[in-house]
Structures are given as structure tokens and as C-alpha cells.
């Protein structure tokens, strides 16, 4: 018996559908915005979305790693605030050299993530609770350091805050760093053992363990990565808003989780892409831009639109999951 090859219509792989849907939504929003508002189709508008959300993008990349393994990290917003605080204090009050300040901030973020990962793995406490305690801890250290805002006046920060001009277009260093982080993270997830282990642990931790994969090491690694990304996000935050403040980035963990979900990553773990997360962050940024352009809408519409979008995307994921033969 021979099978006759049937010409099949091109159809996207099912695991790509959520990401493609986000991409379609972005295109739709951009198209409608360009039609409705004068000056919306200026490429600078897109770049501004990147400039305003570079730090969120970096934090969301770390969160993607954690969610891929089926965990969650509620501490990211607090770690961002802690990093801004540490940076400001070490620079302005302790007068450390710039590279040391940045390294110290990153080290503290990574150490916090490592610690939470260890507690989650060794003592078998739910990630939700451990990272919640981590959230209180990081925010608490912030308040303990100072309750007032500490401005950063270092020339390096002034330089990093300035935009780079390419012709008529402007970007900041933060955007370039964030894009680099996305690319590196995508490569790590696609081509390294750590990336494959993360997907495997998220898909089914028990099978991963039986296959001899280092489940514990992977878990600890993703929380460390998330802590590191949050700290880097905190550093980028100080470039964007040069001050250390314990009230920075309150509620950012929700924005970030929403971006990851809209980007098509399943919260049960095992499925998702960093590219999707990047699109999710862009979608949230574009909503903000549209609401600014509209002018008459109040800020609380942002929250409601994000809520509705979340609903639509989750419904979409649900439909895809229902169609998939089990």
C-alpha cells in the first residue's frame, strides 16, 4: 500500500497559535490606531513603547522561565524596588564605583532568587507562598533602608538615560539591553540543556525526575534567573527614572504575569516562548499608548482593558487545549 501524498493547506502548529494570536492582535491594534489617530504610524511610537517598557520586558523574561517550570514568582516587583534602592544608596551615600554598584544589585537579586528556589525545592513549600514571603522581605528591606526617595545624580546614569539617535529615531540603551536579554533567553530556552530541562520540568515534573533530569537544579536555576532579571530590570528602571524609592514598581508582578499569559505561556508550565512574552509586553504598552492618544479615557480604563484582554486570551488558550487530542 502506498499513501498518496495529499497537498495540505499550511496550518500553524498548535503550540504557536497563542503567540500568533498575540501578534495578530498587536497588528490589529496598531492598524486601528494608525487609522484613528494622526501621527500614530510614526515608527517612533513603537520605539517609545519599548523605551517605556524596557524594564518590564526584562523582568517578564525572567518570569517566563519560572512559569515555564510551572512555578510563579510574586517577588519580582519588590526586587526591582530593592535594586533601585540599593543602587541609589550605594552610589549617592556609599560612593561605590559604578560597575561595583551594578554588580552588587544584580548579585543581591540573584541571591534572593537562589534562596527562594532553595526553600521551594528543599523544603517543598509552594512557590506562591515562598515568593510571597520574598516579596514582603524585599519590600521590607527597602523600607528599612529608607522611606524617602533618593535621587541618583551620577553622570553615568544621566548618560544612560539619554536617548541614542538613529536619524530621526530615538532609542535608549535600556531598549538595546532588553532586546539582548530577550534574544539570549530565547537561545537559552531553545538550544541549551537548561532550556529543555525547564520545559520538561514544567510539562511533568515526575516524568522529568524519572528521566533523570536534574529537577531540583532546574527549579533553583529558574528562580535565580528570575531574581537576576528582576535586578537587571531594577537597574534599567533607574536609568528610566533616576531615583531609588521603596514605592517603585508596586504591583508590577501582576503586569508581568499578565504579559506572560497574554504572550501565550501556559501557567501550568511546559508551553510558551520568550517571543510571546515580548509580544505580550508590547501589547500592554500599546494599550497604554492608545489610551493616551484617545485622551478622553481615564486611566482606570487601562486596567479594565487589560482584564478583558486577559480573559480573551485565556479563553483562546482554553479552546486550543480543548481541541487538542489527549
Amino acid at each position: 500500500m502506498t499513501t498518496v501524498p495529499v497537498r495540505q493547506r499550511w496550518r500553524p502548529q498548535e503550540r504557536h497559535i497563542p503567540v500568533l494570536a498575540t501578534l495578530g492582535l498587536l497588528a490589529l491594534m496598531y492598524g486601528l490606531g494608525s487609522l484613528r489617530y494622526i501621527g500614530f504610524n510614526d515608527p517612533q511610537i513603537i520605539l517609545n513603547v519599548f523605551i517605556d517598557n524596557a524594564f518590564i520586558l526584562v523582568v517578564a523574561v525572567g518570569m517566563t522561565f519560572v512559569i515555564l517550570t510551572g512555578g510563579i514568582d510574586l517577588s519580582v516587583g519588590s526586587v526591582v524596588a530593592l535594586t533601585t534602592m540599593l543602587t541609589a544608596v550605594l552610589l549617592e551615600q556609599a560612593h561605590w564605583p559604578v560597575p561595583l554598584v551594578i554588580l552588587a544589585g544584580l548579585a543581591v537579586g540573584a541571591a534572593l532568587g537562589f534562596g527562594m528556589g532553595c526553600i521551594i525545592h528543599f523544603f517543598e513549600i509552594q512557590p506562591f507562598i515562598v515568593t510571597l514571603a520574598g516579596m514582603f522581605l524585599a519590600r521590607g528591606i527597602c523600607y528599612a533602608i529608607s522611606t524617602s526617595s533618593i535621587p541618583i545624580n551620577d553622570p553615568f546614569w544621566t548618560y544612560m538615560g539619554r536617548s541614542l539617535k538613529f536619524g530621526s529615531l530615538k532609542v535608549t540603551w535600556s531598549v538595546l539591553i532588553a532586546v539582548a536579554v530577550v534574544v539570549i533567553a530565547a537561545l537559552v530556552l531553545a538550544f541549551t540543556k537548561l532550556g529543555r530541562d525547564a520545559y520538561a520540568v514544567g510539562g511533568n515534573p515526575q516524568s522529568a525526575l524519572l528521566m533523570g533530569l536534574p529537577v531540583g537544579r532546574t527549579r533553583i536555576a529558574v528562580y535565580t534567573i528570575s531574581g537576576l532579571c528582576s535586578a537587571l530590570g531594577g537597574v534599567l528602571f533607574t536609568f528610566y527614572l533616576p531615583s531609588g524609592n521603596s514605592l517603585h514598581a508596586i504591583g508590577m508582578e501582576l503586569t508581568v504575569i499578565a504579559a506572560v499569559v497574554i504572550g501565550g505561556t501556559l501557567l501550568t508550565g511546559g508551553t510558551g516562548y520568550v517571543w510571546g512574552t515580548a509580544l505580550g509586553v508590547l501589547a500592554l504598552g500599546l494599550i497604554q499608548t492608545i489610551i493616551t492618544f484617545e485622551g478622553t479615557l481615564s486611566s482606570w480604563w487601562t486596567k479594565m482593558v487589560i482584564g478583558i484582554l486577559l480573559f480573551v486570551f485565556i479563553l483562546l488558550q482554553r479552546l486550543i487545549a480543548a481541541r487538542r487530542p489527549t
Binding site: 513549600i125 507562598i129 523600607y143 481615564s298 486596567k303 479594565m304 482584564g307
Partner: protein, 355 residues
Amino acid sequence: MTRLATAARTAATHRLFWPALVLAVLVLGNVAFTPNFLHIEVRAGHLYGSLIDILRLGAPLVVVSLGMTVVIATRGIDLSVGSTIAISGALACLVISDQGDQNSVGGVLVAVGLALALSLVLGLWNGFLVAGIGIQPIIATLILMVGGRGIAQLITDGQIITVNSDPYELIGGGYLATLPFSVLVAVVMIAVTAVLARRTALGVLIEATGGNAEASRLAGIRARGIMVMVYLFCGLCAGIAGLMISSNVHSADGNNAGLWYELDAILAVVIGGTSLGGGRFSLGGTVLGALIIQALSTTVYTVGIPPETTMLFKAVVVTIVCLIQSPAFRAKVFGRRPRSTPATPSEPAKIEVPA
């Protein structure tokens, strides 16, 4: 082994032992700093004292945590309680402020009824998403958590609505028969929940649903109906707490009312010994957990810890309580094996059965 030691050992294995011990240590620690901490007196026909304050300020959290407990028992979670608190308070204050006579009891009752009805609708929405569509609870309720703040601000039009209504003030700040009214409401809610959960089959059904939703459905339990019901109840509890909070401060703030309440409520449930994995739940533990959290805040003020470090303090206590409760931690640190195998049911072995 003396009889006392045996009794102590039995007590230590009771699941309310650790939360109760932590609460006792917190209260006794306060006595060391402020000797008249335990003192309760009657002043102007009302009970006064630090302990009463803990109960009165902790009442909304106790009520929210009750709802959260039954939701968590079905292996769910409700992140939207903070937003529901804001929405319920906002609607009640809006209705009252629109009335000519803010002191009319009928008007206040209408406002309270509307706010509670809306909370039930929000709970129904969560239940529909979780049980009807089958979305993971943490995500399903995240939608309302994010969107709900927007709804609350839409109701208050971004302003803080202030009301001057004596009947409304009773709910959160008033006294009835020398006792704070909010404490009475909390006690009634605890009693109703306990009777429904422990004197009827409802509690068993909820635990069965949380243990294994599919198995309980096959056993003839309408798991979906149970799940919708617990989210409804959680919405109602959050609505009541919203009324208490807004009534205590005579105003509704769409932005800040009930902020982080979901986290406190989840903490209270976990400290009380209910596992986030679903199944068994402990209402008594939850009440103790909520009181521990409130006592923590009070301690920070009475002991004179700078308020800036409240969060640090909270983080340390939460970590300690969770570590103590983790069997893995006890086995590793105290070198004790988990007591007996039946006490800690291992992961149910998943065996593929060819159909």
C-alpha cells in the same frame, strides 16, 4: 513517660497547635512590652483594650479568609477578593451618598443589599470561569483582580466618596451590646460557615472536590456546582469585608481599599494549616491565622518597631511559620522522619489503565 508529657505530645500533634502557639507568643510578647496589654475595660458602654482592637480590626480579614479557606479547599485560589472589597465598598458608598437623607436605615439597607448582590455576581463570574470554562483559578481570578480595580474606580469616578451615615458606620465602627459590631458579624459568619461545613455533608463534599475533582464527579458529587458555590461564598465574604472597611473609614477609595488583602487572606489560610494543594481545610486554623496577621500589625505598633520594618517582620514570621509546618523541613532540620506513612499521603500513583 509522665502523663503530662503524653498530653503535651498529643497537643503538639494537633493541627491547631502551631498557629495557637504563635498567636500566644505574639500576645505574651506584647505583655512584656506593655504590661496592660491584656487589660480590657468597659468605657462609655463599650469594651476597650488592645485585645478588642485586634479582634475589631481583624474582623474583615477573618471574614475574607473564611471565604478563601473553602476556595482553597477545592484546590482553587481567589486573587480577586481585594478588588471585590473595593467594588462593594464603592457601590455602597455611592448609593448612600446619592440619597437625600444619608441616615435613613432603609436607604443604608438598600445600599448594603446592592453591594452584596454585586459581590455575589462577581463571585459567580469567578465560579463560571473556573468551573464552567475550566480556567486555572489563579488566572481566572487574576482577570477580576486587575479589571476589578478599574471597575471600582469607574464606580467612584476616580474620587474618594465620603459618607456621613450613622447606620452605615455601625457595620465597621459601631458597637452593639458593648461589643464591636464587626466582631459580631465575623462571629456569625464563622458560626454559619462552621455549621454548614461541619454539621452538613457540604464540608465533606468540598474536601472531596479539592482532593480529586474528577474522582468526586465520578462518585456522584456535582463538583462543578460545589466549585461555583465556593466562589460565590468567597465573593460574598469579600463583599461583607468591603462594607466593614469602607464603613470604618466613612469612605470608599477604589484605588486603595482592600489593597493586598488577597495576599493576607491566603497567608492566613496557609498559616492556619490548610494546604494550597486542596482537600482538608481547617476553619479554626484560618481564624487563628487571620488573628496572627492582625496581631502582628498591632505588635509592630505597641512594641515600637519602626512601622517601616513591618513588612520585614511579616516576611520573617511567615517564613518561620511555613518552615515549621513543612514536613520536609522538620525531617531535614530536626532529623525526624515524617511521623508515619499514612499521616502524610504520598503523591497518588498515576497508573495508566488501558481502556
